[in-house]
Symmetry: C2
Subunit: 415 residues, 2 copies
């Protein structure tokens, strides 16, 4: 092992989660302990912060506030959706990154995000290698969507799943308060992968769950959907339907586009901004059945609910950040930290390392065999997979009745 | 004090809250202790359950499950919205009630609900008096809307307020993850009274709150609203606006009705979208400003979030139920249990009793002087009022990663 002395920098990238800051705490606290790491930086808004030389000197932060990162949702140093160009076509950004790395003697680079972010991380890693700049580059996984390849699951998923299942249970009780007939449609995040929507089934396992579940892994047929809803509604009178925001018809058209799309933004990766599916489906079901229908969109609440996070998830998110630093210091580079579930009936996950190249841009979807034959629910295999990930309760300390989140000083780094 | 021996019955009425079952626990546990109370019943779906003679024998329930009612949301024995006719016009229901009371020797009647429910309770109380049937009748207050007259506040409000403020703080962090400009519009419950929407300001006091707040107490002017949103947005770039679902224009028209009219959005089936106020306002703001706008409706989540309830609220809800039984046993009737805030800097609420006649159908709104001069925020007086009500954290026990709610056997009562 060759000791590499220099500064480290962490970037947060992609959509916020309840635990991305727990991974930041893992990186920061571990990096601050390492003798070979001469400065610990947090990039303001990911790669953009490095390109613009806007990053914070984490050594100047109060240790108590760094500890509070474990229970503070969203991306406290700022996230970004910035797509690096192919360096063979345009290497402007890469040259700038190299300049900045040289200027601040940055020798450790940690990037915390999902598929797109691992692509960014991978491109930078390969460019630095080619440029002959010695630098340890590690990806730290993060996404509520749970769609990263090469890892048993992603930090962020367990907490969102716990929130979704618990809230579905509360809604189940709420909609049964009156002796009335009703269809409740829950819209849950997940553009291409249905892991989160499937998580509503964890509430079913407790007897308080949705009657029908539709994932984006399968083609959504509005007529079959209506038939199934009407059939279950006629039998049960009061039903809950969980639908993934990303469901599409056989022509690849998003179902939410069947209704008026109020906000059809595209982000810089070209993703259409979704929303409004619950209202759209509620309108259609109401029209066809005459039933009382309520659409509920979990919206941002499902990804930032640190007040109802999974302790397992928080601990693992922290561990992933910590392990990235430890491995980098030991000479590892060009990898993403991943989880491997140990054999046996007791849940245990070990850290493993996967190649950034293999992870970049690959999406892991819910396997067909974990979705029921009819395509409107999940199997026991999914429950067995997901249940260990929502174990334990984590929330921020409360002060004067409200959560106490981390407050960072964000002192700008100077050369 | 004359001892009155007989059965007691509790009815739950109106919209669910996180703590209506805590009041039920207070009534049930206290009633089961009282020697003069010969049976304890829970009416299935309020007054409807009594009229149909469908009620549960609470003495048959497991004491542990009754204890769990304190942290179980919604209305576990079932709620109802049933309006009793004026007995002078049609006394059919009243005669039936009297028959049922006689048949089961019901001598104690507790009704837990809001304004409408107190009207029901009042009518029954007056009818029983006129009929010469000795019966102690007590109202137990409940409503997230906090709009009951004669009480400092209502059980249910504190928990919903705590949820709204905490969740607003989480959303505040989430929408700041990216370095982008954005308007987030939160739609909060409250048709005529703005107490809940005002509660979002508790997050402002922590530095994570909305920039603008609109309550239904004041006329909503869409042009002034747009001016204010644009002005704050231009200054701050990333803003949160909290709006009460019940805001109306000067002609008394609900603003959510503007949606289809203004933007003429119809889905591909030609139906007008069912979307609520947040979606409507988001559409209008987007159209006028071109800004990225996200509408978030707290929907049912705000009223059934037992996982983030106020301990103060849960304790007081329990106390209100318990006090109703204790006072009734002591000979009191025809009253609603209410709270009176003690003088002094330390928060303390004492139980007082108010006449059902005075409470029935009266709405208590946010006083004009607690709303700022511009009509787009609240004053420090509101914060001082509301903050003590959200103190302390209550949530259900968690088992295997998910909440463990009360499971009642619901054994039907037999004569």
């Amino acid at each position: 092992m060759s000791e590499l002395r220099g500064a480290c920098i962490l970037g947060q990238s992609g959509g916020p989660t309840a635990v991305i800051n727990a991974s930041a705490a893992g990186v920061f606290q571990e990096a601050l302990k390492q003798d070979c790491i001469t400065a610990v930086y947090g990039a303001a808004h990911g790669i953009q912060g490095i390109l613009n030389e806007v990053f914070y000197d984490i050594g100047k932060e109060d240790p108590y506030e760094l500890e509070l990162l474990k229970t503070t949702p969203s991306s406290m140093i700022g996230s970004v959706r910035y797509k690096l160009k192919d360096p063979d076509e345009d290497d402007t950004d890469y040259k700038k990154l190299l300049d900045v790395f040289r200027k601040y003697n940055i020798r450790y680079f940690f990037y915390n995000g999902g598929n797109d972010s691992m692509d960014t991380c991978n491109k930078i890693s390969k460019y630095m290698q080619k440029a002959g700049y010695e630098c340890r580059i590690m990806g730290v996984p993060k996404t509520i969507d749970n769609d990263l390849w090469g890892t048993d699951h992603c930090p962020g998923f367990g907490s969102a799943a716990k929130y979704i299942a618990s809230t579905t249970m509360e809604i189940f009780l709420d909609v049964r308060a009156y002796d009335t007939q009703m269809v409740t449609i829950l819209e849950i995040m997940g553009r291409n992968a249905g892991w989160l929507t499937a998580s509503a089934a964890l509430a079913s396992a407790k007897g308080y769950g949705p009657d029908l579940i539709y994932l984006p892994e399968l083609t959504f047929d509005i007529d079959r959907f209506l038939d199934e809803v009407i059939s279950v509604y006629n039998k049960k009178k009061n039903i809950i339907v969980a639908v993934s925001e990303g469901v599409k018809d056989k022509d690849g058209r998003y179902i939410y586009e069947y209704g008026p799309a109020l906000t059809k933004h595209k982000d810089s990766f070209g993703h259409v901004q979704l929303g409004g599916l619950a209202a759209t489906l509620a309108g259609i079901v109401k029209e066809k059945t005459g039933a009382k229908v309520r659409g509920i969109e979990f919206s941002l609440l499902q990804r930032c609910a640190a007040h109802l996070a999974s302790k397992t998830d928080v601990d693992e998110a922290y561990l992933a950040g910590q392990a990235a630093v430890q491995h980098a210091v030991q000479g590892i580079t060009d990898k993403m930290v991943a989880f491997e579930r140990a054999e046996g009936s007791e849940y245990k996950c070990n850290i493993k390392l996967v190649n950034l190249t293999d992870v970049a841009n690959v999406e892991k979807k819910v396997p067909r065999e974990w979705i029921n034959k009819e395509g409107n629910g999940v199997t026991e295999d999914f429950i067995k997979y997901a249940l260990p990930l929502i174990q334990g309760e984590s929330r921020p300390p409360f002060e004067n009745g409200l959560p106490r989140f981390a407050r960072l000083k964000k002192v700008l780094a100077t050369k």
